[in-house]
Amino acid sequence: MSSNDKETTCLNRGFSSDAYTSDEISTINNLLTYVAEIKFIPEDLLADSPGVKFMPLLMYREEVEENV
């Protein structure tokens, strides 16, 4: 990654280039590109009431309280 590319990537991603090497910036970029695939999961596949359903932590409240 050239120094120009490094600066551009950091600017676009919104973090400082100072703390990272070119390889690290490239890795961060690749990770963020991969996780951005989440945007392509269609809405109709998603649960519509996450507050109730999405976290097993909330679903299994009884066990949590019991363990405290």
């Binding site: 703390a19 990272y20 690290e24 996780v35 945007k39 519509d48 999405f54 019991e66």
Partner: protein, 457 residues
């Protein structure tokens, strides 16, 4: 005494008076002294403290007090689980010098059961990786081949059990961190249903995905250890302890036919050596009473992406905000993951959690048609330390993705999962098989695992 690899054997010899808790402690320390220089499974063993505790436990035993099956049993603990007075750094340089002020919830239970904590074990830094090759304490090695990774993140916990230094160890599991090293090192790794073991006092990686689990040389020992870590009022803990003799015994033929789904995961084919061992073991498992049918799993790539969208920001939320750590001195792979976690939006995080809800429902629907789901724990045997990628079919995959791709599913869903060793490849490297069961049906899962373990032994 030379065999301290089995809880059952230790417990029997203590109750018969053949050995004392002090003898057992000295034996464990001697094994560690002999092997740890090469394997680096342990990062801290305080001999004086261990012998002092062993003396106290022996006094209780000699006084005829009612003791548990874990009484006097040496246990190793992953270096991210707080033990009062120990240096708990998650093998991360910025956290060196962090001494735990109190015991984690599971350690309190372990001590109450009379277990003898031997020391803390090596791990992948912050539990943030499935390989075990990143550790500020110098990485642990695989006892089957020291040129290979032990898997992670509970690398030292698995290596300590596999090399028979201790019969039981504790690990944390956010995307397979108990099961991955257990499989890579050829031992049993059990992650109970989510929240059955309290994670309070465990350095968090991801609050909604973290679990505590056990690593042992047998299904019965892994089950017993976990049962003592669960809430004393937990019905699952009682079920396991009440059925413990049953879990230890060689199972008789099951009366009803058991249906098992062998999951094939799109996007993560198996290496040919692993495929052969898995196929051979499936043939042995398949009997008139155990029917194995192949099923394909949808949404595996989406599940992996969603898992990362949950884990990354949750980890960054904890560590980046910790002003007392020098953020820049995390290792490079950890630092880049923590940076990535900062840049995942709340929208994407919530979308991942909503996907998780849908996916949990989809995955659990397998249990409407099948009693259990099985899958190879890892698509490859433990890679060499210098390998950064592995070839699977026509794909080049990072070792990290190969380790976590399938294993993170059980964390997304929260269902119980256990890996057991099912054989070796031509280079004598172990291969593991994971069995997953319905949420809170841990006892049924453990019985099934025991049945498969007995069939294959």
């Amino acid at each position: 005494m030379s065999n301290i690899s089995s809880i059952h054997e230790i417990s029997k010899s203590l109750s018969r008076g053949d050995y004392s808790c002090i003898d057992i402690a000295k034996e464990a320390i001697s094994h560690i002294s002999e092997l740890n220089g090469e394997l680096n499974a342990f990062v801290e063993v305080n001999e004086e403290r261990v012998l002092e505790n062993a003396k106290y436990l022996q006094e209780k035993l000699a006084a005829g007090q009612d003791v548990s099956l874990l009484h006097g049993v040496p246990v190793a603990v992953k270096n991210n689980i707080d033990i009062q007075g120990y240096n708990i750094s998650a093998c991360s340089k910025p956290l060196h010098g962090r001494y735990a002020a109190s015991d984690a919830a599971c350690i309190k239970k372990l001590k109450k059961a009379g277990a003898l904590i031997i020391g803390t074990t090596n791990m992948h830094e912050l539990a943030y990786g499935g390989t075990g090759d990143i550790s500020s304490c110098t990485p642990a090695k695989n006892p089957h081949d020291i040129t290979r990774i032990p898997g992670g993140s509970s690398s030292g916990s698995a290596a300590a059990v596999a090399s028979k230094m201790v019969p039981l160890s504790l690990g944390s599991d956010t995307g397979g961190s108990v099961r991955i090293p257990a499989s890579a090192c050829g031992v049993v790794g059990y992650k109970p249903s989510i929240n059955l073991i309290d994670t309070v006092g465990v350095l968090p990686l991801s609050w909604t995905l973290d679990h505590v689990g056990t690593i042992a040389n047998s299904v019965s020992d892994a089950a017993l250890g976990a049962a003592f870590l669960m809430s004393s009022t937990s019905s699952i803990s009682h079920q396991i302890l009440n059925s413990f003799k049953e879990i230890c015994a060689i199972p008789t033929e099951t009366e009803h036919q058991c249906k098992v789904a062998l999951i094939e995961i799109d996007g993560m084919p198996l290496a040919s050596n692993v495929n052969k061992v898995i196929n051979d073991s499936i043939k042995l498992i398949s009997t008139s009473n155990v029917v194995v049918e192949k099923e394909s799993l949808k949404y595996s790539v989406e599940s992996h992406v969603a898992w990362l969208n949950i884990m990354y920001p949750e980890a960054s939320s904890f560590y980046v905000e910790k002003r007392d750590c020098d953020y820049t001195s995390f290792s490079s792979p950890t630092k880049v993951q923590l940076e990535a976690g900062i840049h995942i939006s709340a929208l994407d995080y919530l979308k991942a959690q909503r996907f998780r809800a849908m996916f949990s429902g989809y995955f659990n629907s397998f249990f409407d048609r099948y009693d259990f789901v099985i899958m190879p724990t890892l698509p490859v045997v433990a890679p060499k330390f210098n390998d950064k990628t592995v070839t699977l079919g026509d794909k080049e995959v990072t070792v990290q993705d190969a380790m976590t791709f399938a294993n993170s599913i059980a964390n997304m869903v929260g269902c119980p999962a256990i890996t057991i060793p099912v054989g070796f490849d031509s280079k004598a490297m172990p291969v593991g098989l994971t069995i997953l069961g319905p949420f809170k049906k841990d006892l049924s899962l453990l019985k099934m695992a025991k049945e498969i373990e007995s069939t294959l032994s």
